[in-house]
């Protein structure tokens, strides 16, 4: 390090004061993320060894490929996506939250390797990583997102792409462990994936929220441009996802079900950005077994149609909070 550099070349950041917040959401999300911190060692993956052996060779290959695809997205978000958003932050606390997001993406990427080392042979895993390096659809989605992360790119477009990665692109992959779990297979692996899904939900929510805050500062024309861009990018990514899904799932006949899940998650990604849904409800109807695998023990409540339990709460939940006074 040279100390004769001009003073302006290296601006000294201001020390961060968490007791002076510009945006309460930063502390709320920081707390949520830090409380939810986990490591793959917490999940007893080895209990899935027997279950793994019941899968056919084709099912095993599909599962490993899906996980290498997810590893790639987590790697991108860890090493490029989250760091790329840091210079655009509106508050210093937002930068801290992004460092947490970046690190958890590294934990997610690392988790897939824990699954591999527990369940699979080195040969199978090496083959799958080769597959992910060469698969044109997977590479196309990685490139589409990476383009928006480039340093000269528009900060708000970067957030749009980031929300699509966190809240949409993962789901062609997340579908499979939820499907296995709904058939009582690889249930410990599914527990680990649910931890990842939970984190990605907070990430998509927070980045989408920050996008909305940034959007408020823009002119009406620019807001329209960004909305058009978001829908355009979603169409582009959806097109790639559809082909990726066909290649992966045609063999076990699940493509149409996975696509409904993609529509459902695309709509949720748009809502995280504050936009309306794109796919009509009938195209986004997810197999109830998959919804139940996503949120086990959480019933589908609809008092109005007489389904679900409205009064009975069987599950022990942490309802204790000092603020209640009755």
């Amino acid at each position: 390090m040279k100390d004769n550099a001009p003073a302006s070349a290296r601006a000294v950041p201001r020390a961060i004061n968490w007791n002076r917040l510009q945006d309460e959401k930063d502390l709320e999300v920081w707390n949520r993320l830090t409380v939810n911190f986990w490591l793959p060692e917490k999940v007893p993956l080895s209990n899935d060894v027997q279950s793994w052996a019941t899968l056919t060779e084709e099912e095993r290959q599909l599962t490993i490929r899906v996980f290498t695809g997810l590893t790639l997205l987590d790697t991108i978000q860890n090493s490029v996506g989250a760091p790329a958003m840091m210079p655009d932050c509106l508050t210093p606390h937002e930068e801290s939250v992004l460092t947490n997001i970046a690190f958890m993406e590294a934990v997610h990427a690392r988790s897939y390797s824990s699954i591999f080392s527990t369940l699979c042979s080195t040969r199978e895993v090496d083959e799958a990583f080769r597959w992910s390096d060469e698969n044109p659809h997977l590479q196309a989605k990685a490139r589409a997102v990476l383009e928006t992360y480039a340093p000269e790119a528009d900060p708000l477009k970067r957030k749009i792409a980031s929300v699509f990665l966190e809240s949409f692109l993962f789901y062609s992959g997340f579908y499979l462990p939820m499907y296995w779990s709904s058939r009582a297979k690889l249930t410990n692996t599914a527990d680990l994936i649910r931890l990842i899904i939970r984190d990605e939900a907070v990430h998509g929510y927070y980045i989408g929220y920050k996008f909305q805050r940034g959007l408020e500062l823009e002119s009406p024309e620019r807001r329209q441009e960004l909305k058009d861009y978001a829908f355009g990018l979603l169409f582009e990514l959806y097109d790639i996802e559809a082909r990726y899904t066909e290649e992966l799932y045609d063999g076990i006949g699940l493509t149409e079900e996975v696509k409904a899940f993609l529509h459902y998650n695309a709509n949720k990604a748009l809502q995280n950005l504050g936009f309306e849904a794109l796919f009509p409800p009938e195209a986004a109807e997810v197999n109830p077994a998959i919804l139940a695998a996503l949120s086990p023990d959480s019933e589908n409540h609809d008092f109005f149609s007489g389904s679900g339990s409205s009064y009975v709460i069987g599950r022990a939940v942490a309802t204790e909070d000092d603020d209640w006074d009755f």
Binding site: A201, Y209, G274, L294, S295, F304, I313, T319
Partner: protein
């Protein structure tokens, strides 16, 4: 006339859901210093969830403070919960907690800002619900 009381943080998902319903609604303010609007004589509460992985902190503090007022609890007829299935077992947990603490029915759960289907079901459901409530009143 019966109505809706809701809470929505700066992310605005629940506010967008309530807008979609197009019914009379009062918002519990985010800032503790802000003044609460007029609360209908009977209302359904619509509330999002902010639980951590263990379910702690599910009900927003502003909503807890609102419900600590016995007069508000007296007027509460039911609760609808916002959430995200991606949070697993804690999906829409705030509504479970409120239903249990206040002994009112949990009417419905929806994700984020809800879908068109959710909005149609809740609209129809609330009209029918208030109809029933009026008959029994």
């Amino acid at each position: 006339m019966p109505g809706i009381v809701y809470f929505s943080s700066a992310s605005g998902n629940t506010a967008r859901f309530v807008d979609g319903l197009g019914m009379l609604a009062s918002r519990i303010p985010v800032s503790p210093k802000a003044v609460l609007g007029r609360i209908p004589e009977e209302f359904v509460l619509i509330c999002p969830t902010y639980a951590d992985g263990e379910g702690r902190g599910a009900v927003p503090k502003q909503v807890i403070r609102f419900l600590n007022d016995p007069d508000h609890r007296r007027r509460l007829r039911g609760v609808i919960g916002g959430g995200n299935r991606n949070f697993g077992a804690t999906y829409g947990l705030a509504a479970d907690v409120i239903a249990k603490k206040c002994s009112v029915p949990l009417l419905y759960k929806f994700e984020l800002a809800g879908t068109l289907t959710d909005i149609a079901r809740v609209k129809d459901g609330l009209h029918a619900f208030w109809g029933t409530e009026c008959l029994t009143a």
